[in-house]
């Protein structure tokens, strides 16, 4: 038997495969397809204090090996979450993690306090990298000063595992990872989507109502992999890698680069079974290579070349 378990501090995960926020709904939508409890963890759709309607339609454009989205954090707010979603997701036998968002630092703090009280939520992902909102989001995560401030304030009130989700839209992503580490984050996750644009030449206008949106999918995998590799070599806290992971092979590339765990995002749209297939694929890969513990491949290429 291959050992697939990993951990972030004292929080353990049965395997390194999780789902990316905003691409897995609240898990419930996948109940028909597979047993969600087989995953290492699930990251729920980005939540804000108040309910939000998101951006106008159209919010999506297909691009070569990827897609743009400009959803803009549509969600029903924390009250609805506590009353309706929480009871359901509490039944999963896996780590259920909330992705928290705000326009102002105070929003993040208030939300973190609420999430902190929920017993069955062992961790929160601090999203300072959403490119699709007018206020907050990526604006926090691409400026070292505001990034530090929001992480520091949230850390004060949030006492479980704090994962900071980094933006790839920066010159030097390790700078932001180091800030997260310095401010006491337990982990960093990366990457969020890349700010991008699509234009319909026939109609002579932008494809999205918001003009720009976030690029995800295999197109960004080489960029995400580079950033995960850079960050894993710069910080000591565990790194959760994502960006274009479609198959177990893709996931293994991120682990080899230094990610302790990975998130499956856009892949779930095309194959709702992708996350669980990736768990199985990683297991076969390790068996075939005669590797008994997933820990042996995490950061393997860095041990070899340094």
């Amino acid at each position: 038997m291959v050992k697939l378990g990993i951990s972030i501090g004292d929080l353990s995960f049965k395997n390194p495969v999780m789902t990316a926020s905003g691409t897995f709904g609240n898990g419930i939508e996948f109940d028909d397809f597979f047993d969600v409890s087989r995953l290492g963890g699930i990251f729920l759709k980005g939540t804000t204090l108040e309910a939000r309607e998101g951006n106008p339609y159209p919010r999506m454009a297909e691009t070569p090996s990827g897609m743009l989205n400009a959803v803009g954090l549509q969600n029903k707010g924390i009250d609805y979450f506590e009353q309706i979603i929480y009871p359901h997701v509490s039944q999963y036998d896996t780590n259920v993690i909330v992705n928290i968002n705000g326009s102002y630092i105070d929003d993040y703090i208030l939300l973190a306090e609420r999430i902190n009280k929920l017993d069955r939520i062992p961790a929160a992902e601090l999203n300072i990298s959403c490119p699709n909102v007018k206020m907050g989001g990526m604006a926090f995560g691409t400026n070292p000063v505001t990034a530090r401030e929001v992480i520091r304030e949230v850390r004060k009130v949030y006492h479980k595992k704090l994962i900071v989700k980094l933006s790839p839209n920066v010159t030097n992503i390790t700078e932001f990872a180091l800030i997260a580490e310095e401010e006491g984050a337990d982990s960093v996750s990366l990457v969020n989507t890349l700010l991008a644009m699509a234009i319909d030449a026939g109609k002579m206008k932008p494809s999205l109502s918001t003009l720009t949106g976030g690029l995800s999918g295999p197109a960004i995998k080489p960029i995400a992999l580079r950033m995960v590799w850079q960050v894993a070599n710069a910080v000591r806290i565990p790194v959760i890698g994502m960006g274009g992971i479609m198959t177990a092979t893709d996931a293994i590339e991120f682990l080899l680069a230094g990610a302790t765990a990975i998130q499956v995002g856009t892949a779930s749209f095309i194959d709702p079974m992708a996350p669980v297939k990736i768990v199985e694929g990683i297991e076969s890969y390790l068996s075939e290579k005669g590797i008994s513990d997933i820990g042996e491949i995490i950061g393997y290429i860095n041990r070899k070349t340094s």
């Binding site: 998101g54 999506m60 079974m273």
Partner: protein, 255 residues
């Protein structure tokens, strides 16, 4: 049975002429849970530029043979790739998806209005109405007579009326100008077609206080309610057209 993802075998790919074709697929599980108005998400293999699945309505069902059909128009890369499939090839689907048309009460008079490839979900709807003992009227609009296919099928499930933009078949003009609308009174209208057509039908229905459901064709990334890309603006806020739709009562839409 719930939503599922499966490789299905293509039994026939029937090219109708112009840019239209019909794929017949062999269900691997029992398909008795399909409801009219629902759709499938088709994975496109063998096309370098199609990353996402494509939503296609369920056009027709054969419960005895456990097969069903998709009626597709070639409009771009994905539909072009699908048109090249041959019988025996396999096609990966996520299905059945979406909500469905509300069936009429026993004595309600119904009109099904379709435009172009938008006639697709109406055949299945008509058949279900038949099995409930009613024979709906069907008003089908086309650009011209060359683009009319499968009429025999529709004639079996209802009384068919036609419009063409150039007058080459049926009445000339758009569906909303057809004489049947002034001659008959309907309790319900079901509509699927280009957005301008559905909006025109919706406003006709509102004015005349007719219950009206339309099938939206919003862009979709997932098709099962997780990406929140396919939203329709409704009086109850932004709703997913893949789970809360594709069928909407026009009174709910902010049209």
């Amino acid at each position: 049975m719930g939503k599922r993802t499966e490789d299905l075998r293509i039994i026939e790919n029937k090219h109708l002429g112009q840019d239209f074709f019909i794929l017949e697929l062999a269900g691997s599980s029992k398909i008795t849970d399909f409801k009219p108005g629902q759709f499938v998400q088709v994975k496109i293999e063998g096309s370098q530029d199609t990353f996402l699945r494509r939503p296609i309505s369920i056009y027709d069902i054969d419960y005895e043979r456990n097969t069903f059909k998709l009626f597709i128009q070639i409009v771009g890369k994905g539909s072009a790739a699908l048109s090249k499939l041959k019988s025996g090839d396999s096609l990966n689907l996520i299905y059945p998806l979406g909500n469905y048309f509300t069936l009429p009460g026993e004595y309600e008079k119904c009109l099904l209005i379709g435009g172009g490839v938008g006639i697709a979900p109406l055949l299945f709807l008509g058949k279900v109405m038949n099995s409930n003992g009613s024979l709906p009227d069907m008003l089908l609009g086309f650009r011209n007579s060359d683009r009319i296919f499968e009429l025999d099928k529709f004639r079996k499930v209802g009384n068919v009326f036609i419009t063409t933009e150039d007058g080459s078949a049926g009445e000339k003009g758009f569906v909303t100008g057809h004489s049947i609308l002034s001659e008959k009174k309907y309790d319900r209208i079901y509509c699927c077609g280009p957005e301008p057509m559905m909006k025109a039908v919706a406003s006709y229905c509102k004015i005349n206080s007719i219950l009206c459901e339309v099938s939206l064709e919003n862009l979709m990334a997932c098709g099962f309610g997780v990406c929140l890309c396919c939203i329709a603006e409704t009086v109850r806020g932004n709703l997913c057209s893949c789970t809360d739709g594709p069928i909407f009562n026009v009174n709910d839409l902010k049209w």
